[in-house]
Symmetry: D2
Subunit: 358 residues, 4 copies
């Protein structure tokens, strides 16, 4: 079931880019948990389109309306359902792609899969807009996780060739995570961030687009969370992260870099710290061993391909005429979705973690 | 349920490194499918430990005995169960790690998770030995996939710093896939392969270990296979691949490299080929768009960390004394598990694909 | 996950009796299926409360608003979400039961389970009102099933001691099923139905309530639908039917009566009819053998306990004072929910069957 | 997935009547639980065929061999797999039914479903023999449940027209449950039991067979166990019980009888007992309200149809000739499977309950 995720906390997404509304049902939340909806809304605002240089011109407040599941602000054991209206649809922009699939979009695959019955407007249910209800669910889970001592934060690790600093894999703390999530442009080094913004602006001017990498960290995950084999932290976190459109790679700790290290370099030695807590001196394992949390900071990198919607003319096909043709994509698109994807990555991590923890 | 995988084809693994046996139950196979068990056994032999330089000294034939699910060599609608005896156990080797967890192994996490009740011998149910039943299940799925026109093959993309050539992402065909899977050392370029073998031997002599990357490819996956959001090909293939111990990263198509490309570079333009089939000129998307197969070769890279078991002395802790101490790991360990992991990656891809296709 | 049902067609319910709205998400519907929403609404109207003698005084049109999943009236591959507003809530009626659980209601169990955080108004998420979205989902599935040649209909088999005629288990056809579902009071024998109505009116006057049995039938289910063991038709149909509040028993074919028969009486002999179709002369098996459809009419009886909400005074407890006390239930309640439950039983059968058929 | 059951404790069955072996994998058991395998074997012996009047002549010790999942007699976090050899197969007995399906057996449905590829010997994977691994899993769960204070016992409520006494729905205790499970013929009233045995013997002499009802009870289930809607105790217990071949009906508490009661008769009034515990004066609800345990004894009745295998000649069809014909079933069959099904019902209850409790 592709719009459902979770074993204990079950997320059911619904909606298309241009349907009346989109939303999410969250089943299995522990009862009596206070959910601060204003804080949820602030979390969602980090994803929402705005007038920033690096974002689509589509304007939506993305106000999520809770229609059940809360009683006086607390979870009541009933599924929590939130609905977000689609208010700023411009279906006219998508007329061409009914026939000419956009390169590196899901248009062609969806057309074959659904035999032409799918909603092509705005990408239908493949739209990045579906990450809004993912963010809603993640924001709810985050509040519960914090009460369990778990904090999550992410930053833009790179856009194009420009790389931000990394979280210190051993010493990163809740303050650092909270700080970066409050920034308008989520980087650890604001100067590098400004370079990224400049790059986005430049590439946008070239009718082109950019990808990037997001680094996401969770601290406070209790030792033992996660299951062996198919329900390991890596399996579950990756399974959730790949739901975000444009994600093409996921790695944990040193990830692909660890493939180049020797065992003597990559191994993380255990020790008792001065408080008697078991820690590792390094953290190439990204807080996960055998699929299970080690208690060290959990570290995940997520790679995003460049936005496939670009204004320059591209080759494609006419599905009706069965001939080769060209397409120039109009409409409002982010030249780089990475900045807006930061809370989405946090959200998928939050959903996966809480699912394994309750 | 961590030992279970699949929605339509359900895999249930069981066993520990030093239990009497390990095995797998496969539920949901289509009825009437002929399964060539000798071919299954040959597939499993690629994973089995031998006397090669790069492998553990543990010797086991890994003979899988089918105890139900086949009638006269064909699937009969009943779950297929195969049992593999553990014949060459040396529990004595693991006495030390009952108290001193091995760095970058699951020992410590498992000890906390299972409150000391877990089987530590050989890593218990975290052992790489559990990939034997995964290979069995994969080999069964592969035979059914071939009848559906799908072929899967993988090779060692890199060991340490040495990189093999890559599959051509556009033109790779069944012959190339079959050829590489028949090699004793699965590389495209045998000369580079010999360098890898030399490197493994050298590093083994240093009591150290190596990681690497495996590139796995499937061709013939029909357009439309895969579901949006959480059941996309990437989600499912990653969820399965991370079950292989030591995997720390998974990427599709250009993966992390695509994060550095412009949209105009990364986009794969559609065209009708001379047979009237829709193809893309390049294949940075690795055969997956919106989680759904595009019909182009499906390409996945899987990163393996270096074997954590190394003979040189390392720092660790004594769980009983709650003090820092050191450990020198004895026992029989692969200096690099990547060569033996090649069929495991193929197997997880086969299981995931068939699950989405039936 | 208790509000979710289905492996292939996934139903996710949400809402409480007195939340802003209730609804359902249906994931996995085949694409391109036309859904006649007016017909769905007519189906739901059979369940909706009215001013009939046997129904609650609560008035709601139960208008389901589809907010996504349909494109020009057809399923588009995206989950279908329908929302039903709660417009006629009278929370005041339920003040007492915050402290004094109603006998044979879920109040007490829910209070303990959710540690007092549950929504007690109108029974919260245990309310029979949640059968409205079940009916919506069932009505959608029914339209798709009809295109597959499957027809479902149910009637009131008994209320109190008064029994309706039964469907002929061998010859029942689509016309008979359709006819009874169109009746205002769904019985095969209208005279017996009038006796039931009279009985309900009488018992209502006594401030008491009645239970009953509903017989539900499906014809046209292809031979082979259903899986052995835990996914048999009986397992799945029962698992769905018990979601309807007040259901206390489910049986198939001769059910409990078959326990009193000899094998020679109960066995249903096979024969080829004049069209060369395999049939059975009798149908004690209710169309299901080994969990799998035999092609004969599928027959299920569902037992409903009498409405627990009765106006006469009853003994109960004060949760706050921890003392024994009494309760007189006010509010608007059906003296017998069986007539309104008829479409609910059809709906659960439709959902279960389509889930096993796609 | 039809051979799988459970969300938290996952049961995977495998095997056919005449395959080399049958068995079960149990994933998700809490670690460190001591499992007394001799006691498990004694539980299974209650189901095993013997030389009693009411049983098949097939003799098998049904010795379950644990091949993994236990370490020094305790669960170790790894799935527990038990294998039971099929030692006394007589495939010759089933030659005829390859072509002539036995009335009221799954033969015909399976033949169509699996396109003739299914194993017809002994009923293949539809055989009652598959209840042996169910009993194994149940016996394991029972031992864990007892440590949680839950006790389960069942008795033959009726065979044909002869009815045993019932458990007192309010006062039944662990001693009574334990006592009846230790009897060779599980009835509360041994005199009535003797009548049942006599009836079985008589009917056997007539080449006919008998059905019956089993009443199963659990005490000590904590208030709050079970989930609303689709994961209610009734839903889950029924979903498991219908996996036992020949089960045609399941009811809870007063069940179908409650459909004939008035609300004032059926309602179970709450009160605080002298220990300050909440109880109900009567127990028509069978310990379940809104799908959730009330703390009162949990009561379930399960109806079994008469054994369909009878020696007298019956009408059937020839699948190859497509003509009507007759069949006389040879082989070793129970004239009444109800006595041997008693532990099977207990087992399905144990599996369902533990799954909802961990």
């Amino acid at each position: 079931m592709s719009f459902n995720f979770g074993e204990n906390i079950k997320i059911s997404l619904f909606g298309q880019s241009h349907s009346e509304a989109i939303g999410v049902v969250i089943d299995g939340l522990p009862p009596g948990e206070e959910i601060d909806l204003e804080r949820v809304q602030r979390f969602m605002a980090r994803r929402a389109p705005g007038n920033k240089v690096f974002s689509t011109a589509r304007r939506e407040t993305d106000e999520a309306k809770v229609i059940c599941g809360l009683l006086e602000g607390k979870t009541c054991g009933s599924p929590l359902c939130a609905v977000i209206k689609n208010t700023d649809c411009k279906p006219g922009d998508y007329a061409a792609i009914l026939d000419v699939p956009r390169p590196s979009h899901a248009d062609y695959c969806a057309h074959i899969k659904y035999k032409g019955a799918n909603d092509i407007r705005g990408g239908g249910h493949f739209s990045g807009r579906l990450t809004a209800p993912i963010c809603f669910a993640g924001a709810v889970c985050l509040q519960i996780l914090e009460r369990l001592g778990v904090f999550i934060g992410a930053h833009i690790q790179s856009i194009g060739e420009i790389e931000d600093r990394r979280f210190d894999p051993v010493t990163v703390d809740a303050t650092q995570l909270t700080t970066v999530t409050k920034k308008a442009f989520a980087v650890l080094d604001d100067e590098l961030g400004q370079h990224m913004v400049d790059l986005i602006e430049m590439v946008k001017g070239q009718s082109d687009s950019l990808g990037g990498v997001i680094e996401c960290c969770a601290i406070g995950v209790p030792v033992g969370v996660g299951e062996p084999m198919f329900s390991g932290l890596e399996n579950r976190l990756a399974a959730a992260a790949f739901a975000i459109p444009a994600v093409k790679g996921v790695e944990f700790g040193a990830g692909f870099a660890s493939a180049k290290l020797r065992g003597s370099q990559n191994n993380d030695e255990f020790y008792y710290d001065h408080k008697g807590q078991v820690k590792t001196k390094t953290n190439h394992h990204g807080g996960i061993l055998g699929g299970i949390a080690s208690g060290m900071p959990l570290l995940m990198n997520v790679a995003f391909k460049p936005t496939p919607s670009i204004a320059m003319q591209q080759n494609s096909i006419s599905l009706s005429k069965k001939t080769n043709t060209t397409i120039s994509i109009k409409g409002r698109h982010d030249p780089c979705i990475v900045p807006r994807a930061v809370p989405c990555v946090e959200a998928t991590m939050a959903i996966s973690l809480l699912d394994l923890m309750v």
